[in-house]
Symmetry: C2
């Protein structure tokens, strides 16, 4: 692990000259430059990013906080964000709460310690004060805090409308929809559910909301839930929920000899690769992960560079994709 000083000594120049070559920050005589580059080569010199970061007050790292990276939604998101950050010269720190609010708080505290330049919050289960008092660039992905904190989120209201329309087209009479437990108005994705209910009610279609625990990964649990719901409310002929439970409903319907879409119309919400991995293509409200991720990163980097950002409250369009389940 050689330092800039050793390089300077070997090349017979002062450290600052090496630094200049390194950063192209000033003119250096060609022969001097060559000598320095040779020395760097020989010593296998690699700049200490920690020291650089300390000087520049910038680590070159952006953190993302998710509930769980295993979930296809968050791994898709993280995937695109990392890709784009790489292009922009940033690294990604991956942090997960695993549903533990204490962990969320601990990470939030760590984020203020100069090790990261900005934070992407794909989860938000603690009090608003934590976000309000956070003094670093931050972007929320599904939670409205106040008008100063950027919020980038899919246009769930339209998503809810598109789903409702599809149920209407399918002549459904009773639609169940699953949403995360503890959803409040400031959670934007909840607006999709509200819009779904509103429009269905306008069309005299009954609805039932079922709350499920965040981030569940227990597919069999979902399948049991689906089965229970379908057995307990046999009149149900439509369901909207996230990709994974949608698959569970598809399976449960098959077990119960319910025909899809005739007896049960299914609309999956999110559009991760899961929805393609079935024998039948599931009708889906798709979020645009790539566009979403780029928008998030662009805004965050602008914030980090203290550049002005026109719009900090953004809705990314969703895309309706017709499948065989409606």
């Amino acid at each position: 692990m050689s330092t800039i000083r050793e390089v300077a000594k070997r090349a017979g120049v002062a450290v600052c000259t090496v630094s200049r070559v390194l950063n192209n920050s000033a003119y250096v005589a060609p022969e001097t430059k060559e000598r320095i580059e040779k020395a760097m080569e020989e010593l296998n010199y690699i700049p200490n990013e920690l020291a650089r970061g300390m000087f520049k007050q910038k680590a070159g790292i952006i953190a993302i906080l998710v509930p769980n990276i295993k979930h296809p939604f968050f791994s898709s998101l993280a995937n695109h964000i990392e890709q784009y950050l790489y292009e922009k010269g940033y690294k990604l720190m991956l942090c997960s709460t695993a549903g533990d609010v204490e962990r969320e708080k601990a990470y939030m505290r760590f984020f203020e310690s100069n090790m990261v330049d900005g934070v992407i919050m794909a989860v938000s289960n603690i009090e608003k004060e934590y976000y309000e008092n956070f003094n670093k660039p931050i972007i929320m992905l599904d939670y409205f805090v106040n008008d100063n904190i950027p919020l980038v989120v899919s246009d769930h209201k339209t998503g809810g409308r598109l789903a409702a329309q599809e149920f209407i087209n399918n002549h459904c009479k009773y639609v169940v929809h699953l949403c995360d437990e503890g959803m409040v108005n400031d959670v934007i994705s909840y607006q999709g559910h509200l819009e779904l209910e509103r429009i269905l009610h306008e069309n005299n279609i009954k609805t039932r909301k079922v709350e499920i625990k965040w981030n569940t990964f227990d597919f069999l649990g979902f399948k049991n839930l689906a089965q229970t719901i379908l057995e307990y409310y046999p009149e149900i002929d439509g369901v909207m929920c996230a990709d994974i439970p949608a698959v569970a409903f598809l399976n449960a319907a098959s077990s119960l000899n319910k025909k899809v879409p005739d007896d049960l119309a299914i609309v999956a919400y999110d559009g991760t690769y899961i929805t393609n991995m079935q024998e039948r293509k599931i009708t889906t409200i798709m979020q645009q992960f790539e566009k979403f991720s780029k928008t998030v990163v662009d805004i965050l980097i602008k914030k980090i560079n203290k550049e002005p950002v026109e719009n900090i409250n953004i809705r990314i369009p969703v895309i309706f994709e017709k499948g065989d389940t409606t």
Copy 2:
């Protein structure tokens, strides 16, 4: 963003005293301590981890390099690694190559810059020299470099044997297996395929190896491939492959009216949550992600702390899980 100096000034003490309180590194008079803690509170002081890292020559960050975090295999892995690192006080930097060797090289170079303390290589597509000359603690997850570089990997040889046994029990005559293209002997997972072939041949069962491009995510592509294979080689009555193509084979068999497992026995390899998400439970050779991850992290941290490590060439057992597809 207040510094330790400001805290010291506010509390009317020297910086080193504040540092002592911060790290509990020496005795400080109770009243002094209280004064300092009050000052820290008032200024909302948070230590600068960048500066700390610079002094300690340690960033508290471990990097993982994967081909793609979207893939359930790598997201499962990253999930468990992050969980365990959190317990150990480390953060995780998530880096992906997206199949680009230049990106792998670029990241490898960055890793040597003091911003990370160690590296977990879940991908390895560049020349051995890069790993041999890498001067930081590193762990390979599927690639043998030399006897000095730790290697933690599932016991794929046993995995291949278990799969072979299952095909034998199913009286298969012709088994196809899919593996990544460009697999060489030093790629440990390839040994599973070799063992599978060896045992099947011993039992007079024909085999066919099909190479697929790394990390493909195109499920429809897999499905077409599966269908093509099954149509082109109608005698095939067994298949071993990763979880996702296994699902594709399950679907393709259904499309072709082949009965599973009578006409086609399917063994999935890996055991991510994907294998549970089907109507039929797929027979699976499961990797133990949690155990695997803990082992990796434990060894890496020991290496970082320059503690001796008894065994740096480890095989984590795989688990055979019988499903409905054999």
